[in-house]
Symmetry: D2
Amino acid sequence: MTPINSESWLLLKRTARFGDTDAAGVMHFYQLFRWSHEAWEQSLESYGIPAKNIFPVYSANNQEQISVALPIVHCEANFFLPIETGDELIVQLFPKKIDLGSFEIEIRFKRQNTDVARCLLRHLAINADSRSRCVLPEQIDLWLEASSVKLGIKPV
Amino acid sequence: MTPINSESWLLLKRTARFGDTDAAGVMHFYQLFRWSHEAWEQSLESYGIPAKNIFPVYSANNQEQISVALPIVHCEANFFLPIETGDELIVQLFPKKIDLGSFEIEIRFKRQNTDVARCLLRHLAINADSRSRCVLPEQIDLWLEASSVKLGIKPV
Amino acid sequence: MTPINSESWLLLKRTARFGDTDAAGVMHFYQLFRWSHEAWEQSLESYGIPAKNIFPVYSANNQEQISVALPIVHCEANFFLPIETGDELIVQLFPKKIDLGSFEIEIRFKRQNTDVARCLLRHLAINADSRSRCVLPEQIDLWLEASSVKLGIKPV
Amino acid sequence: MTPINSESWLLLKRTARFGDTDAAGVMHFYQLFRWSHEAWEQSLESYGIPAKNIFPVYSANNQEQISVALPIVHCEANFFLPIETGDELIVQLFPKKIDLGSFEIEIRFKRQNTDVARCLLRHLAINADSRSRCVLPEQIDLWLEASSVKLGIKPV
């Protein structure tokens, strides 16, 4: 999962690997969710947000622990064409803020301008300790706003 | 993934394992799709359909190859509560025929009578060589019909 | 991964699933490590050790956190024969204490009395906070001793 | 998994992702094997060998099927330090021909010049239909020879 160029944090590329396939010879369906989550992580990183600001690290470093977790509460995928080992895919992210405490990302996978699959990830912000709902982390808000500007979508 | 009892091919149980979790300490979201697909495979097996009748095996055995593939064209999941290592889950399948060439399965995961997650897998029957749409394999039809009777649902 | 019978915590069975395979039509190699770790978890559970005593749970429950982690420092596998979707395997565990702070488990996979693969997992006990070496948790020691008695191996 | 630069097919980089971790907060051990296999695939691709020349694709394209499979017969890994979400790793490959029909690859993972893990994958060439041993595909031989020259190792 790598950015297409240095200015792009919403347009990535990825190559399907042998371990992503099953005995039908094509990508096993749920690998798309792994690819999609990794695309989100790469997008944050390319935009300038370090992983350790958003994702928890091991418990010994308690002082550095994140205070907001962003679990996925809903996800879905549509598969249009089979994906084979070695296929080079263009991965485009369409993030959207839903409300103060949640957002979703549509991720479209293309092979040579043809849609092969789409995925949707919906995240909810919760307090990492109490697990009650809270507002999104500020950095996620900035990334969502910048993404909506870049995509020409009016922010919420 | 094991049947609750010998008469049941739609009610299974499963224990969450350490490798299913992520650094947030709970099941990583897309593992639910793996569990759901394995629940479907276990259901077919418990009903009496050998895996080799439905899933492809390695290419040397060309004479034994299945003629119909059943790729997933859509799937989705909802997550209600976090699942931890060691959690014992009840897994209930609700298969439903959509039309002559497709079906879907809702899979509900409970922990001590509380819903923790739900998954939906939608499968399409295609000719394994031409990849054009075709009717469902007869054994899948029988499993769908028996399931709808067991669940008290009127068959299509 | 289920025990063969209620008295056995070192003899399990497992069915290979479609998602475990790759485009060569057989089990993708590293799934064996997942199966082996799950076999160890099932063995502890069948012996009577709850998962939450050995594996970390999410960070909100700080008061319940385990104090000793058991990371794998070395592992290896040998593959003798291809494994296909639906194959029913017998999984036998051979745990062995190495010293006060480490142990290893050999896990042998058989199909109808034929060896198909073997795996070795070597675990080290470390303090979960400081990450320095420490002695094995008492429950792991009991499981190792009981296993060596059952296998007719002289304890260390 | 991307090359460090355009001339390098044995020196790659990779970022650890959230889905690679477990509830202990660090990379779950067997992910290293996935990373290592993907490093090999990336190495072949960067050297100029298309994936479809080495790995099987779905069975409908029988005319294009590869004739030699390269299953892993042995693999092992050593883990020196925990790896966390967001860690940027340098991945170095050391391929070595064993004999006419087998080779192995050592893969070293470093973080800021410190070794964090090592992996070894040993592959055997077999006829994809008969599954009997055979000589390595010519392209793999070329890649092995070029690698040994680049690494300053005398070829076999």
